[in-house]
Amino acid sequence: MDVSLTERAYIKMKAASINNLKYLEDKPVIRVGTGTCGKAAGALRIREAFKDELTRKGIDAGVVEVGCMGHCYAEPLIIISKPGFPSLCYGKVDEVLVKRLVEDFLINNDPCYEFAMAALEPNDIFPTFRDFPRGVYEEKMILENCGFIDPEEIDFYIARDGYSALADVLNMEPGEVLGEVKASNLRGRGGAGFPAGIKWEVVRKAGNGMKYVICNGDEGDPGAFMDRNILESNPHQVIEGMIICAYAVGASLGYLYIRSEYSQAIRRVNNALRQAREKNLLGASILGSAFCFDLEVFSGAGAFVCGEGTALINSMEGGMGIPQHRPPELAVSGYLGEPTVLNNVKTFCYVPLIMRKGADWFKKTGTPGSPGTAVFTLAGKIAGPGLVEVPMGTTLRQLIFDVGEGIPRNKKFKAVQIGGPSGGCLPEQALDIPLDFDSLEEAGAMMGSGGLVVLDEDDCMVGMARFFLNFTQQESCGKCTFCRLGTKHMLEILKAITRGEGDMASLETLRELAEDVKTGSLCNLGKTAPNPVLTTLKYFRDEYEAHIKGKCCPSLKCPDLIAYFIEPDKCSKLCNICVGSCPVEAIYTRDNGLKAINRDKCVKCDNCLKACPPEYSAVIKVSPPGLVEEREREMK
């Protein structure tokens, strides 16, 4: 069989990459996770400690910076691969452990199993990630290489078959490529789940003029960080996906729109683009074919609403980041009025995999309506927070209790906020719905970016609704009446309720406003902003009513509705710790030697409750605050 020009170029390139990485063979390699998350936890210090220690001991070993594996709870993370041993992952590494690992493992062949988290390859000695509950459910497609390859060195990606899909695609008809993506039923991972193939087809059919491919990396949901992680850990996969998309639709220029707060992602993507250009994977006649395409980074100025397509385009064109009415859709009239494909970071990541392994392979995972995997960021009251990738159709219960290892400190699960400020709060009874685009929307939430915040019995649902609405209200661009004024009034009502100043009439107004803002707003920020309010009203109405009728916060969270009290029968005359912990001198000693709190002075900082030794646990919160007076009267 004839080997095409592009394939020959690719084979040569891959051989060169493997050759470039030869220096890491036959010696120990230490991979340090230096995503922004790892760096924040001290990964750079650990990297330096390893380098110093290796030089001091005169050991020949490679230290490689990699992205993030998604085990946020255990940062800083490292992986040591030493010939003769399985690759081992160590979490919560500090300088002491670094010294120990170099001394015991690298020199004396004792891998310090007591500190290891898991092995990467199956072996007879130590369990792998697959042997833990999380590993059983997790199925890594787009995160497969994150945390294992050096994002700043293109050779790592190419050595793992990176850009091989592109080399194949360049020998196909663009229509065939589009056909494969359509057959895979890949749905956009930005939140709404619109089929990518259909979007691409509109752009492809839009004549032969200028077309653009844009990657939406304006991730802004509180609690979501998967796009940042992918851009930082494996930028080439996104780039390869975009080039394939450009080939399928006939675009010659593209942009990666990344918010400026993601400085490391921007730096790594720019670096990746430069390396791809050097290897002729971008630019004129890619891999020797007739196809020309180039990419640039556009750094967004930080408005949440710029993640909305029309606002994103407006801001790229130099206007205010403000949405416009649709239609026309971007696929018809996008950047500079030309047909534009705008897809999320994750959507593009699936493309090289689908082209390499086929649409049928992709459809084997997930549900028929939503094939593939879903990436979630687990946060909030969860024992194992982090970035996980599970097949679509996994239930929330599996995700929270098996993958995320449940709620810490034996607390009771209350709700899960899914999809960020546009999503909803789902209660216990919704835990068994399979996670995919359609079932979540039915339940009143949405996939959104995939942010997942777990709430336990200590979280107030009214406070939660207020938190998210406060976010959307501040991020509203102000163009349309419902979003600008509707969210403001809703927030004011919620604030009043959490202060104990709400009434049942205002609760009704809140519901009406929420419904009207949802139907009446111009863009999807406004249309989804009421979701946290609507879902909490639907599933946790009793909490709203407790705040209004009983002036009581059942979760003891809303500062205006609680008071601190020291239980005399638990308090000890021998202990003074709370007195010292109070920053406003609100705690005094009663005549009998026990402590009490002056409510007029108390600022509800929670210090005394934390300071009170567990053997007493005398400081409690009560709601409504009037209960304190009742207790005081009882005492007399």
Partner: protein, 215 residues
């Protein structure tokens, strides 16, 4: 020229050019639909005031008439419970930010808000919402007119007149969200801006936020 089609608005047969925006077709045929931000010449409507909702047979939620192109055989209703509810809420939301002192307002009697209230049987006061306090900032630096930001409903018609008809560019939108407002460059007084006092923005204002001084 686009072909002519027949549509039905509130039971009335109306001939219109295909693709024309529904709002203007209705208004030209004496069917009133509330609207503040719409400018006929604008190719891409602002669709910001959210008042011109209508219901079209076959679509589940009300749509804005200013963005809806006319199609053959379209059946439109301007008054349904869903439409009335949205208009009522949008109207009350706008009023909650509008300094209500019609007695002293130069636009009293010709104000678009008053017209909407009259046409749709809405009250010119707030019953569900509390007024949002807005500082009274009146810029009366121009010789012939003044700008009272407390009455502004942010429809943007003045900006259109200033940019696209007068071609001056003295005013524009600034800030975001609840702080969005009409300002000159760097928040200077109008007299310090390139304003030529042509008066086109004042004529465009539907509510008396921009008004000519007496004499």
């Amino acid at each position: 020229m686009n072909r002519k089609v027949v549509i039905i608005i509130d039971g009335q047969k109306i001939t219109a050019r295909e693709g024309e925006k529904l709002l203007w077709v209705a208004l030209e045929n004496k069917v009133y639909i509330p609207h503040l931000c719409a400018v006929k010449e604008q190719e891409r409507p602002t669709a910001g005031c959210r008042l011109c909702f209508v219901e079209i047979e076959g679509t589940c939620n009300p749509v804005t008439a200013c963005t809806q192109p006319v199609k053959a055989g379209m059946t439109v209703k301007t008054r349904t419970p869903a439409v009335d509810r949205l208009v009522r809420t949008a109207f009350e939301l706008l009023l909650s930010e509008h300094r209500l002192n019609c007695g002293e307002c130069p636009k009293n009697g010709s104000c678009e808000l008053q017209k909407i209230a009259r046409e749709r049987g809405l009250k010119l006061n707030l019953h569900r919402l509390k007024p949002l306090s807005k500082k009274v900032i009146i810029d009366d630096s121009p010789r012939s007119f003044a700008f009272d930001a407390g009455r502004c409903v942010l429809c943007g018609r003045c900006v259109w007149a200033d940019h696209r008809i007068a071609g001056v560019g003295a005013i524009g939108f600034s800030r975001r969200g609840i702080h969005r407002r009409i300002t000159t460059f760097a928040d200077r007084e109008l007299a310090q801006s390139p304003c030529t006092e042509c008066g086109l923005c004042v004529e465009a204002c539907p509510v008396g936020a921009l008004y000519f001084k007496k004499n």
